[in-house]
Amino acid sequence: MKAVYILWLRQLKRYSRSRTRVIGSLGQPTLFLLTLGYGFGPIFARAGAGDYLQFLAPGIVTMGILFSAVFSGIEIIWDRQFGFLKATLVAPVSRFEIVLGRTLGGATVALIQGAIVFVVCLIAGFRVVHPLLLPLAVAFMVLIAVFCTAIGTVVGSVLHDMQGFQLIMNFIVLPLFFFSSALFPLDGLAKPLQIAVRLNPLTYGVDGLRGALSRGFALGVVTDLAVLAALAAVLLAIGAYLFSRIEL
């Protein structure tokens, strides 16, 4: 388990030393928050749906976690290209410990990133409605982070180079975000979109976080927790399996 710890610590060190990464990954969520939040706010209010910023902010926090987590997972590809992966694979530790350390490290980084986006949301005018539910919000953030990092681990274990980068972005990361309830409410959607959104695991993360922070749960807190936790566990297992099959 010391191996898990040292690999986790490595991810954190790398993150804390890369200021460009911290700032760079904040750009997109902030942009979305400010343009969409303030841009659609008036229409949202006129439609009688309340304050859009209050609705949107949990979705944007999720976005920050999603982007950061998937790319932390995908760091396997860099480590493979730059050789560090080899050094860990010939060490006398099991592949499971390695993948666990990496995934926890990536998830922690994503969680920090999510917390920073949350602070940006507060600055932009977001208000927490139920402060007592904050621990629940953190729990959802952790689950989202683990789930998304595991996606990155799966992708990183299968891909060998960054040629597939655009593919990952356009067919995994962005659809996960746009087909969730991050930007729009669930009710009243056209049937096909409704189905897509309901099938998207991230929807349950967004709903859980939004429920805990501001607007109540549209899908039920137990459903949100159960679906997200189960899928995070499944993806972790798939990621660990695929990682264990990496050949150099």
Partner: protein
């Protein structure tokens, strides 16, 4: 002396193509063993099988008495390896790279600290221990990788093309250092190279590999005698019918550029 590395009829096929084709060899404890051959001959594939990262298609293999396929963790404890391409974390300091390795190999903290300092001093990097590895020159990185591989006091040190990409002066330094190690640390050294003169100068014993097959084995003297070549180069041409091929540029350089762009 007992063999510490032993391979019999070792085969590795990729999609029906035999990258390593029924090779057999034994390395006695304490010697410096050179695996000589052109690029693509099967050197790296062999090292990967010896070091548990690639399962052989068939054949029998023992590293320090253990089977790499069935007892990978025991085998991994017994060796240290320096890969052909760098494998350090460049975003960490020299000290952190060593420390990470020591923890992965489960060395107790006092041993780790003492060993780490002694080894970094040995290669003249102790004063630079707090510097990021990305600021190091090629020779410094290579030195760091070698002592990192020795931190857990392995019985075998694998070196895959340890001097490729280094200037002649640095290459000399590295080899002097490795020869010293094999004496002082009583470690068996198994290295691959496509530099004829390195094999001749450094190795106690040489196996010549080409197209996945070992075509000759013995000391440099014996190989020259056998082929009536005056140099090992001539012996190599006599054995293989061609001279050693030139090195190709690695695609990793392209990746490095891509990352810089992406990270921005």
């Amino acid at each position: 002396m007992a063999a510490i590395i032993e391979a019999r009829d070792l085969v590795k096929e990729f999609d029906g193509f035999a990258a390593v084709d029924h090779i057999s060899f034994a390395v006695s404890a304490g010697v410096i063993f050179g695996f000589l051959g052109p690029n693509g001959a099967g050197k790296t594939t062999t090292i990967k099988m010896l070091t548990t990262v690639l399962a052989p298609t068939s054949g029998w293999l023992r590293i320090a008495g253990h089977d790499p396929v069935r007892e990978p963790l025991l085998v991994r404890r017994s060796f240290g390896i320096v890969f052909q391409d760098p494998s350090l974390d460049e975003e960490l300091t020299a000290y952190e790279n060593m420390e990470l390795h020591g923890v992965l190999y489960d060395l107790p903290r006092p041993v780790r600290r003492q060993r780490l300092e002694a080894l970094l001093r040995l290669v003249g990097l102790w004063e630079r221990r707090g510097d990021y590895v990305k600021r190091f020159s090629g020779g410094m990185k290579r030195r760091l990788e070698i002592v990192r591989a020795l931190q857990h006091q392995p019985r075998i040190l694998f070196l895959d093309e340890p001097t490729s990409g280094l200037d002649p002066q640095t290459r000399n330094q590295i080899w002097d250092f490795i020869r010293g190690l094999s004496r002082d640390e009583t470690v068996t050294v198994f290295f691959t190279t496509h530099y004829m003169e390195e094999a001749e100068r450094v190795a106690d014993e040489i196996a010549v590999i080409d197209h996945g097959k070992i075509i000759a084995q013995g000391s440099a003297e014996a190989l020259k005698y056998q082929t009536r070549g005056r140099t090992l180069e001539e012996a190599f041409i006599a054995l293989t019918g061609h001279s050693i091929r030139a090195e190709e540029a690695a695609p990793v350089d392209r990746m490095r550029m891509m990352r810089r762009v992406w990270r921005r």
